[in-house]
Symmetry: C2
């Protein structure tokens, strides 16, 4: 339709409209969609790094159907629900590449301890006595509340009773890449790694094809599992086309264990047994050597970088600038709240940006935009979901957040991307949308009963206190 | 009065009260005070590390008159104003040992750059064209708003037109240790360091004896000032008994400059010219060697540690665990918002706790309580104010904050001190009190017009954008 024709038809419509008066409106030529978010600075994180200021995003059902100027979107779409975002930033939902959601139940239980004392005196006793389907359910609800409130829309997770994590995440409306942990010693939901493998396969079957949950296989690590179970995990993942979530090269202890047992680094050992291959999400990668980076490239390993956990547990600093320079995909994660102590991805981004400047002595490394990529599109790619989420583009799922940018600590605004990384916190997130569903609007969480979630977590915490006291 | 006598008099009062009925109340035997904060977990930061849970603090005028159990305080004092703090934490106001408040006007203007490019392309041009009494006033109001909102009650500051910083701080109700900058090149308020010295003395005279402002002398550094002005600064400080605020050993460049010019490290050079002595607040101290620590001890140098700025500018890591082990007093600071990018002392505490664990490879160093000390009582001691502020004790000034502890990311609570350091942000502060005056109550700032402060800062930011564009 030419502009002239368009102009003429508008003229006719006006005449018609005048003739019938207020009694009857002409049919709206615009497409009706479920949701439009409009008026904010839209940071798309697309390949062209487009920032629309102001911009708008149209959503229909679970998909993004348009990204453009507010006037353009208003001209093309009639929205059943409109969210105004003037003075705010609209961003893809944040993607947490590594956590253990139910461990929020242990946050702040013990800090400032050596890893072995922390594990043996606090975390293992607490887990031995309190991990149960109910604890995992209650903990995941609390974690989901925190994630929704701080703008995380997708999380990668491995823990016990992972089916409870999946159910709680779905009910809260969050997207997850979730794996039932397979580990070499008896745990709450599996007496043996063989039990763990069976539970992992049941989990894969149960959540196959789910709209929000990607079922993964989650062998804990090369130092807590024998070769046969690592190999079986890889076979299971290949059989189902599932991601593999695993901890690799987190601490110097792990390196020493690996060298002593196999005369190989953890990655070289995993390579030697045929474990490496597609769809691996390797958490930590702190002690990766420069010589190993080509091995990670060859197998397109997705790296989950957890700077806060690595600092708090004194694990070390992952060679992120070298990994990025080599073209590896690196996403950030929070790790579990027992070692962070929260699930705020804004803190994780900021810490990634600050840590590598210090470590390298070069303030130009891991700039604000890179840090933001590591929490959005790069994180999505680490999880194998970059065709579905991670940027605001037509055809992708509508996972987006609206972030306030008017606080005193965000004033003035010269560069919204700088502010997102260096001065914004999860609490600035106003609205969280996953798969087109509004989970929080203007700080009011809609998909969970906040008071009930907090109350049940507080009630359960008495059992945790009891467990570590004995 | 013995308990028996006390019991008897209560009995008589009850009888009397019954006789006169509701028409007339008996005289309240309790002392009337201006303010009681009651019901929260009171973390006193006193020498006994007392934590009262629940506790209460009674304030009369500008002073703390009692700290105790809620029932005890209620029995002893009738308060004209009561602030309930159930489920919250009551803490001494946070003390920021190093900042440049007006630089909030440059926050996020340029990031991720090498120091020289950052300074020469952005900060110096912006300062040359925009520093003025008005800019300092507007910037300090914005900084004061942010500090009040994030629980900082005292800040140490050096900038230009410092009398405007002082006036704005007083109006906002904040306590400050403030010094007019003396520097070797022409700046907005002084063509020469001699001008700067004269302005510094005028500042000392003007604010002498002020109830909120401690006037300091602020020679910028050993590499931006000739020996005669450093010596003159020390004499001026001695004449007025004033603190000396100075940057020392911040970057490797500074060390190299000092070694090249004087064949001495910055601290040894300052010692050689008689500058070292009482009341020094030395910001950064990144490149202090183990051999220099006794020199700092000898002169009781107060160390201001600025972990976020040191990370973002890739300056390096101060040897804080070694300094603490040697008995030096170390407080944390945010540095200016151009290199942080905010004034949130909770972030500074957290970063101090995390950074030194990583650097030392030992997760037990700079534990949560130590980090909290570095933002309260130790910071007060760095500034020479530990007899006046920094802990909740009878006779000290009533500088205190009430911090929310019920957010999802703070649930459950096993240890409030852990949560203050590892999961709390400035935005959790509900109420801020300085010198007995309530500056913010339940997130409503009372001493500043928030909307006007933000609007004038935004208006002024256009001039900054213009200045760096040219």
């Amino acid at each position: 339709m030419s502009l002239t024709t368009h102009g003429r038809s508008v003229f006719l419509v006006i005449l018609f409209s005048t003739a019938v008066g207020a009694c009857q409106s002409p049919p709206d030529p615009r497409r009706t969609v479920s949701l439009v978010v409009t008026g904010g600075t839209v940071v798309t994180m697309d390949a062209q790094r487009r920032v629309l200021s102001p911009g708008a995003v149209a959503v229909d059902g679970r998909e993004i159907v348009a990204v453009g100027a507010p006037a353009e979107i208003a001209g093309r779409f009639a929205a059943r629900e409109t969210i105004g975002a003037i003075g705010q930033v609209v961003l893809p939902g944040l993607v947490n590449t590594h956590t253990h959601a139910p461990m929020v139940m242990y946050r702040g239980l013990a800090d400032d301890l050596r890893l072995m004392e922390w594990l043996e005196r606090y975390i293992f006793p607490a887990e031995a006595k309190t991990v149960s389907p109910q604890m995992v359910r209650v903990g995941t609800r609390l974690a989901a509340l925190e994630m929704i409130q701080s703008g995380t829309t997708t999380f990668a997770d491995m823990y016990y009773f992972e089916e409870e994590v999946a159910q709680a995440a779905k009910q809260a409306g969050l997207r997850g890449v979730l794996g039932e942990t397979i580990i070499g010693f008896p745990v709450a939901d599996a007496k043996t790694p063989a039990d763990g493998l069976r539970r992992a396969e049941a989990f894969l079957k149960r959540f196959r094809g789910d709209d929000l949950i990607v079922a993964a296989v989650a062998p804990h690590s090369m130092y807590t599992l024998d070769r046969e179970y690592l190999a079986a995990s890889r076979r299971l993942a290949d059989q189902y086309g599932a991601p593999l979530l695993i901890h690799v090269a987190e601490t110097q202890d792990e390196i020493q264990t690996s060298e002593k047992r196999f005369r190989l680094t953890p990655f070289r050992y995993l390579d030697s047994i045929g474990f490496l291959g597609p769809r691996i999400v390797a958490a930590h990668c702190v002690w990766v050597t420069p010589e190993e980076i080509p091995l990670l490239q060859k197998h397109r390993i997705g790296v989950s970088h957890n700077p806060e956990s690595n600092m708090k547990l004194a694990s070390g600093t992952a060679p992120v600038p070298a990994m990025l320079a080599a073209g590896l995909t690196v996403g950030v994660g929070t790790d579990g709240a027992a070692s962070n102590n929260d699930l705020d991805m804004f803190e994780a981004m900021r810490q990634a940006a600050l840590l590598h400047k210090l470590e390298s002595g070069d303030p130009t490394v891991v700039g604000a935009y890179t840090a933001l990529e590591m929490a959005t599109i790069a994180a999505a790619k680490v999880l194998g979901l970059d065709r579905t989420i991670g940027s605001l583009e037509v055809g992708k799922r509508a996972d987006l957040i609206v972030v306030g940018m008017r606080a005193a600590r965000q004033t003035p605004v010269y560069n919204p991307v700088s502010h997102l990384v260096y001065v914004t916190r999860g609490d600035d997130v106003q609205t969280t949308i996953v798969n087109g569903r509004v989970l929080m609007r203007n700080r009011r969480v809609l998909s969970l009963n906040e008071g009930a979630v907090l109350a049940e977590a507080r009630a359960l915490s008495a059992r945790v206190t009891e467990a570590v006291r004995q």
